[in-house]
């Protein structure tokens, strides 16, 4: 296939989806600079693997690549944390993009709590709740069955709430 065409397509996808992909990677690894690098790798990898793209959902396809790259990164750099399926403890908002500094208090609480839950929970919550992928799309990206997406999301939200409670943020209305 014509390399210029592929390059053009990658550029177009970048314009459309780069913010989404950056958000996903950033929320998974919590490192702004590294997330930028991994996003860059994602689009270059997409160029390399363009022959495997077959008129499917481009966003989902790019997210699959982004996820593989992110998981590879986690494997290499945070093996123990990843094994135990825990994120490194995020105590505040250090090392984050400027824009996040202005988060509302409730969102900041959520952001911190999200960083403390299991990787698989975080993964599915980001895709479903923040990136608004459908269950089918999320299942495709994660390589899971839809039932697993549902049950993991359910448990993830539960754990997220518990985490918020633990931090004293949630005061259930009785």
């Amino acid at each position: 296939m014509d390399q210029d065409y592929i390059k053009h397509q990658i550029n177009e996808w970048y314009t459309q989806f780069s913010n989404d992909i950056y958000q996903y990677i950033y929320l998974m690894i919590r490192d702004h600079e590294q997330a930028k690098d991994l996003m860059q790798d994602t689009f270059i990898r997409a160029f390399d693997k363009f022959s495997t793209f077959h008129d499917e959902n481009a966003k989902g396809w790019l997210f699959r690549i982004a996820r593989n790259i992110t998981i590879d990164y986690l494997r290499r750099n945070k093996p123990i944390a990843y094994f135990f399926d825990k994120a490194p403890i995020i105590s505040g908002k250090e090392g984050i993009p400027e824009e996040i500094v202005s988060l509302h208090e409730t969102t900041e609480e959520l952001y911190v709590a999200l960083g403390k839950i299991k990787t698989s929970f975080r993964d599915v919550i980001i895709l479903r709740k923040i990136k608004r992928f459908s269950i089918q799309e999320t299942a495709d990206i994660l390589g899971w069955k839809e039932s697993k997406v549902k049950s993991t999301l359910f448990r993830g939200i539960k754990e997220l709430k518990e985490q918020l409670e633990k931090e004293g943020y949630v005061h259930e209305e009785k």
């Binding site: 550029n11 913010n19 270059i44 919550i125 209305e173």
Partner: protein, 409 residues
């Protein structure tokens, strides 16, 4: 945060606020395009570099043609399916010839066609496993990307090479696990899909029967990583250990869950169960230890020691990262587990204490009584130790080994 709606609003805000600046976007896009341009115009060799693609092809084709013309037996070499590579030969091939993007035929040309088709335990990716220098009669069949650590340390097999195939049926990742004769340790060489390479020395598995001294590790022999024997070890550390109990929502006992998701290196589910249970324990633990820096001798606090052992059992060997805990195919809700006794100080003995009284007498006492009696209170009573003496033992230890106790042997 009071309501679910607040959480939804938070998700939305996160989605809106986490954005890159225009200049960051421009920089990244420019980098991407440079990367693409380089790939389009330069070499195809990611790892060796500097060899023009067209030139490479032309020269390769010419050499092949020449060889085919003058040396017909070369054809049989290309097609040779059996190869008896030594560990050294295989390592050179892995490090210098095997490349991301190679086809199956190219890999077969390097390693032969005697491989085991397996799948990665984590992602179910299609993989090949080559066993290098196995002893006569040795075989280890696993459908997953596991290794037979016991056989490696006993010399029955010298190396495993793992090839991971991508969607397009070309090599997407590869690695080799091998025993380094110089230091007797297992090394793990890996090349990732982006061409990055890593090589790690996997502690503390050794080919020698060296003692490994780790806080809280009651086992001091190399069988520490063998499945069944590992059970005993963990059991000993957390001798107050009760298997996680599954309970219904109203707290009724439902039974001990049987983890059936996967086996461990020797294939026994029993071993896996124990490991999983330790992981469950971890869910409720706090990281209080330290991680090993590269080439640092290891000595860990109880909690991180468990992490360390599991890490070295899994990382690079079993690729089980992120595995969900399953019970008869269903995910288990950790909430339904009762693992309150894990890490309970009354039921945990650090190796420092065991060393202090002497391992032999410790175990003599330990095994002479029933589980519930194996408490710190009874330990102090039996050995007639005061808290002050115990504190001194810890103090002396840390004074003598400020950076952790070196691995012996």
């Amino acid at each position: 945060m009071k309501k679910n709606e607040d959480m939804d609003k938070g998700f939305t805000e996160l989605s809106e606020k986490i954005v890159l600046t225009k200049s960051e976007h421009n920089e990244i896009l420019s980098n991407i395009n440079s990367g693409i341009d380089q790939k389009s115009t330069k070499n195809i060799s990611k790892r060796n570099g500097g060899f023009p693609y067209k030139y490479y092809l032309a020269v390769g084709a010419a050499i092949l043609l020449l060889v085919l013309l003058v040396q017909p037996s070369f054809v049989s070499f290309i097609g040779t399916s059996e190869k008896s590579l030594t560990k050294e030969e295989a390592l050179i091939i892995v490090k210098e010839q095997l490349q991301i993007g190679m086809t199956e035929d190219e890999v077969v040309a390097l390693f032969g066609s005697t491989y085991l088709e397996i799948a990665s335990a984590k992602d179910d990716e299609r993989m090949w496993r080559y066993d290098i220098e196995p002893k006569d009669g040795y075989s280890y069949e696993s459908a997953d990307d596991f290794i037979d650590a016991t056989a490696m340390t006993s010399g029955e097999i010298n190396m495993y090479v793992f090839i991971t195939w991508g969607d397009d049926n070309v090599v997407s990742r590869f690695g080799a696990l091998y025993l380094n004769d110089e230091d007797g340790r297992l090394y793990h060489y890996q090349v990732y899909s982006d061409g990055d390479e890593t090589e790690t020395r996997e502690l503390p598995i050794t080919s020698k029967k060296d003692p490994v001294s780790i806080t809280g590790n009651t086992s001091r022999n190399s069988t520490v990583y063998e499945g069944a024997e590992y059970y005993e070890e963990i059991y000993t550390i957390y001798h107050g250990f009760t298997r996680p109990v599954e309970r219904s929502e109203d707290g009724n006992f439902l039974g001990n869950p049987r983890m059936v998701s996967i086996g461990f290196s020797d294939g026994t589910e029993e071993t896996w169960e124990v490991l999983i249970e330790v992981v469950l324990a971890w869910e409720d633990s706090t990281f209080i230890g330290k991680f090993r820096e590269e080439d640092e001798d290891i000595y860990f606090d109880l909690d991180s020691k468990v992490a360390e052992l599991l890490f070295y059992m899994f990382d690079g060997y079993l690729h089980l990262y992120g595995y969900d805990i399953e019970y008869e195919g269903e995910d288990i809700d950790p909430e339904n587990f009762d693992y309150h006794q894990f890490d309970h100080p009354e039921f945990s003995f650090e190796q420092i204490l065991i060393d202090y009284v002497g391992e032999d007498v410790f175990y003599e006492w330990f095994h002479s009584i029933e589980l519930p009696e194996r408490t710190m209170t009874n330990f102090k009573k039996y050995f007639d130790l005061s808290d002050g003496e115990l504190n001194k033992a810890f103090f002396d230890y840390h004074k003598n080994y400020p950076n952790g106790k070196p691995v012996e042997g």
